[in-house]
Symmetry: C2
Subunit: 216 residues, 2 copies
DNA sequence: CAATTTCAATCAAACGATTGATTAATTCAA
DNA sequence: TTGAATTAATCAATCGTTTGATTGAAATTG
């Protein structure tokens, strides 16, 4: 077993395999990616996969773990003070979502990560359970707390929880369907400038949705 | 040849193979689905795939074609009159989206279809080109026309086009991430009742977004 | 200090299993 | 009888995994 400190910094073969795994699993799919192709991209031997992760499935799990770890770092969520004024909560939502949108739509790294997790979700993979319990639910709960304060609704009400999901869905759609959007918009690709333009529209939607949450 | 009218249950080997293909490609992915598994589900022989579609890739294309055909039938879009009043346009948007949401979130058939096309999109498959040119762009343009009339903005403005994409993204997210949503909401699954609850929230968002489109 | 052992890590090569595709024979309806 | 449709059997290619050998740097020993 690898006794290297499996942590943040560059690490060598193990990290290279995970990076190759996320990229290839994300773009081609788990089953469509051969272990030989992963090893080639990571500039190592096929047997390294079995050595470091026990097999192709082990590498898949490691990719899922790195997903949660990386996204947790981006979110850097702080506990929500309960005595926040609505405008303060709204400002925090704006800032937080602006950072998330910038990452999801602006960073090439995010494209691979989202694609990878998207596949896991649609295959109902056990990795999704880990990621959900590990950070998805907590993150969603925190956002709901802010959304509730900003909109004047109960944070855990159905309306708030569903609205938060809806807004996240808007962000992810532009990441997943970026080629379709780019074609329809006449863009060459979804780069930094286009991401900023989308972010501006989405933040307007955020205000609009906050103003009507719970008005069913 | 089997050229009878398209119905729900098996109508022939060809239709059974397409149905099996959409279901399996959608849930497991194209590469992860073997031709033998497809044949078994369609209750026929492996060689039937090559006979009817020329091979596995031919079946994939046929599945894509059926996707466009089926969704076109659901959308049943009529040309948009140019002299529509804003409230009439808004009413048409409400009705149309309500029907689409009901189909996407309420029909089990839609789950397979969306999963199938989702994979094609994230693999940047040539099938996406056909579906985009065949009906995606035209449909989006029609919705933009209504959205522009209802919001008072130019139909082909960046704000309108991006807002329409955003709203579609909300719908698709609940279809794709239905298991995550269900878990967070405490639901057993996403059934008819839950779909109606989501639809209510989304239609509120529609009004909210229509009111602020172009107010960047 | 030098010689030896230990061990994580990587490699080329090979394994059995499964893949999509093909073939020739057979069935079935008109 | 004829042509379309289906079948069982087989093909080469590729899959994930395993194996035994090799490396170089620590750890141990004399």
């Amino acid at each position: 077993m690898a006794q290297t400190s499996a942590d943040t910094p560059p690490e060598g073969t193990r990290a290279a395999l995970i990076a190759a795994g996320v990229a290839l699993f994300g773009s081609k799919g788990f089953a469509a990616t051969s272990t030989r192709e992963i090893a080639a991209r990571a500039k190592t031997n096929v047997a390294s996969i079995a050595y470091h992760f026990g097999g192709k499935d082990g590498l898949r799990q490691a990719c899922g773990a790195q997903f949660a770890q990386r996204l947790t770092a981006v979110l850097q969520q702080a506990p929500v003070p309960a005595d926040l004024r609505p405008d303060q909560a709204r400002a925090l939502l704006h800032a937080g979502f602006a950072r998330v949108i910038g990452f999801i739509l602006g960073q090439a790294e995010a494209a691979e990560m989202v694609s990878f997790m998207l596949r896991e979700v649609s295959e109902n993979s056990p990795i999704v359970d880990q990621v959900y319990a590990g950070f998805m639910e907590g993150t969603h709960r925190n956002v709901c707390a802010l959304w509730g304060l900003a909109s004047g609704c109960a944070p855990e009400s159905d309306a708030v929880r569903l609205s938060v999901f809806s807004f996240i869905g808007q962000i992810l759609y532009f990441r997943i369907g970026n080629r379709i959007v780019a074609r329809r918009m006449g863009w060459d690709a979804l780069g930094q400038g286009e991401a900023a333009q989308i972010a501006a529209v989405l933040l307007v939607h955020l205000d609009a949705m906050l103003g009507t949450t719970g008005k069913v």
